[in-house]
């Protein structure tokens, strides 16, 4: 890899993701809903990119809300 692009093998297979993750959490997805769920996971993957691109300090934790 010399051009900085991800090889195709790194591109997630969203359909497989939807099928396996839904099975793992016990959420049946009927065939008539499946294509739109895949579309929405694809959209989420696109929308989340600016967040994934941000580098955070290792020490940064979420704001604490739990109070014993």
């Amino acid at each position: 890899m010399t051009d900085g692009k991800k090889p195709d093998t790194m591109k997630p297979d969203i359909a497989k993701w939807v099928d396996e993750a839904s099975q793992a959490i016990g959420l049946p997805i009927a065939e008539e809903y499946r294509a739109n769920v895949i579309l929405n996971v694809e959209r989420s993957l696109a929308i989340v990119q600016p967040l994934l691109a941000v580098e955070l300090d290792k020490e940064l934790t979420p704001l604490p809300v739990y109070r014993p």
Binding site: L27, V37, R43, L51, V54, L60, P62
Partner: protein, 460 residues
């Protein structure tokens, strides 16, 4: 002189007239119910009308009971607020099979304690996962300024009811923009208070981390009157602040002197139609604001808000998605399902980033008091429209009407959405954003813009 029984009357007008005895609360309610009956076939704002209850309450007010700063003011609430004796729909069909509310939501009780009169529950996007105001079960709420167009959502019925003049005041909820988007598209003033400022007890949740409740109205004073009446700690909502209430009505006439006002640049200056930025420029010019500030990483803030919303919302509805998927609105079902399948590391990173974004934005508010930003990237799209082209890029309407509101509610800042309108065009709003717990500053700016005639809201 406004006719108190007309659709032009504001909450403040009505309260003044009822308190002084110039008009009976019962007459106000009868006129309101008549207006609702006339407007509903067009705007479809209401899902429940509690006429008998409203009439009984009006009689009690006319007899001298329940008097307060909102005496005799009719109001309605998004149907995710509990209304005693009714199922809390939250825009869904599924919840109709749930229990009927045993008592009103906290804010309904507070408004009624101040003399206001509940007249009904309002249409909304299913489970508040919506920016359009459309609903497959109950039909879309329609924009009173052009019924072929969206109200915006998810508090679509709240926008339609106030913009049509059915009621002068409505409550909505705002998780990612659901008060500010319909305020913008319907030409209203809307207040999304600081996170935790108003109790959410007795309302159906969506995303606990971001859920806010607040009012929509046709005047700043009505926002302030209702906001003041609703403030106060409530142990029934763990997020509700125990800070003392900051009363805002009396400060509305203070003007904008001493306020440092800036315009949000970068992320908030692109990705919208020209009308969105022209609205900001109009408001900024009137306020004499020239400085531009940058909320760093706002695109990441929007992404993080999206991820937290998708994942918390999916968790909330997982059981219903498993057992009754066919009973969801098709426009929310697959988005909720997709949210259930996203990786946990996204959620944790979003929460970590939230802390950093908050730190950076609070630092910015050491230098300014108010930041102006567009409320929506465009004015009201057509009903049923699923895609829109903004700046030559085709975008999904549902995911993107909240582009400019999401980064702000992400960290719980108070915002007043103020309306602007060019003659012959649909209205579009501007966000007047303040630092946490400084609703007063945003309301002062809104009141000043209204007084100058820059931001006016008239019923359709």
């Amino acid at each position: 002189m406004t006719d108190i029984l007309s659709k032009q009357a504001t909450a403040a007008d009505i309260a003044r007239s009822v308190s002084s005895g110039k008009v009976k609360a019962s007459a106000v309610i009868e006129a309101t119910l008549k207006r609702i009956a006339a407007a509903e076939p067009t705007v479809n704002a209401f899902t429940d009308i509690v006429a008998d209850r409203a009439r009984r309450r009006a009689i009690q007010i006319d007899a001298g009971q329940h008097r307060g700063p909102l005496s005799g003011v009719p109001f309605a609430v998004k149907n995710l607020f509990d209304i005693e004796g009714l199922p809390t729909r939250a825009g869904s069909k599924i919840n109709l099979d749930g229990p009927k509310a045993r008592r009103d939501g906290a804010l309904v009780r507070k408004l009624e304690a101040a003399g206001a009169i509940l007249v009904g529950g309002l249409n909304m996007g299913e489970y508040a996962y919506d920016f359009t105001g459309e609903n497959a079960h109950y039909g879309p709420s329609r924009n009173p300024h052009d019924p072929t167009r969206m109200t915006g959502g998810s508090s679509g019925g709240s926008g339609a009811a106030v913009a049509s003049g059915e009621v002068p005041l409505a409550l909505g909820s705002d998780t990612n923009g659901s008060i500010r988007v319909p305020s913008s598209l319907c030409g209203l003033f809307g207040l999304k208070p600081t996170y935790g400022r108003l109790s959410r007890a007795g309302s159906f949740p969506f995303v606990d981390a971001f859920d806010h409740l607040g009012p929509l109205a046709r005047s700043t004073k009505d926002l302030a009157l209702s906001f003041d009446a609703m403030q106060g700690w409530d142990p029934a909502d763990p997020a509700c602040t125990d800070r003392p209430a900051d009363m805002t009505v009396l400060s509305l006439e203070e003007g904008i002197g001493g306020l440092r006002i800036a315009i949000a640049g970068d992320y908030f200056a692109k990705g919208g139609e020209p009308e969105a930025f022209e609205a900001v420029a109009t408001v900024a010019k009137a306020l004499g604001a020239t400085r531009t500030v940058v909320l760093p990483d706002a695109a990441a803030a929007r992404a993080a808000a999206y991820v937290i919303t998708a994942m918390e919302g999916a968790q909330l509805h997982l059981e219903r998605l498993k057992t009754r998927p066919q009973d969801f609105d098709g426009d929310t079902r697959e988005r909720f399902m997709a949210g259930a399948l996203l990786p946990g590391i996204w959620y944790v990173k979003a929460q970590r980033f939230r802390r950093r974004f908050r730190t950076h934005v609070l630092k910015l508010f050491e230098e300014v008091d108010i930041v102006l930003a567009p409320a929506t990237p465009c004015s009201a799209p057509k009903l049923g429209q699923t895609m829109m082209t903004i700046g030559g890029v085709e975008l999904a309407v549902r995911a993107n009407l909240g582009l400019f509101t999401q980064p702000i509610s992400f960290i719980g800042l108070p915002v007043v959405a103020v309306p602007t309108r060019v003659q012959g065009a649909m209205p579009i709003g501007v966000q007047v954003i303040a630092k946490p717990h400084n609703e007063q500053a945003a309301l002062r700016v809104s009141a000043w813009l209204e007084k100058q005639g820059v931001c006016i809201s008239s019923p359709a």
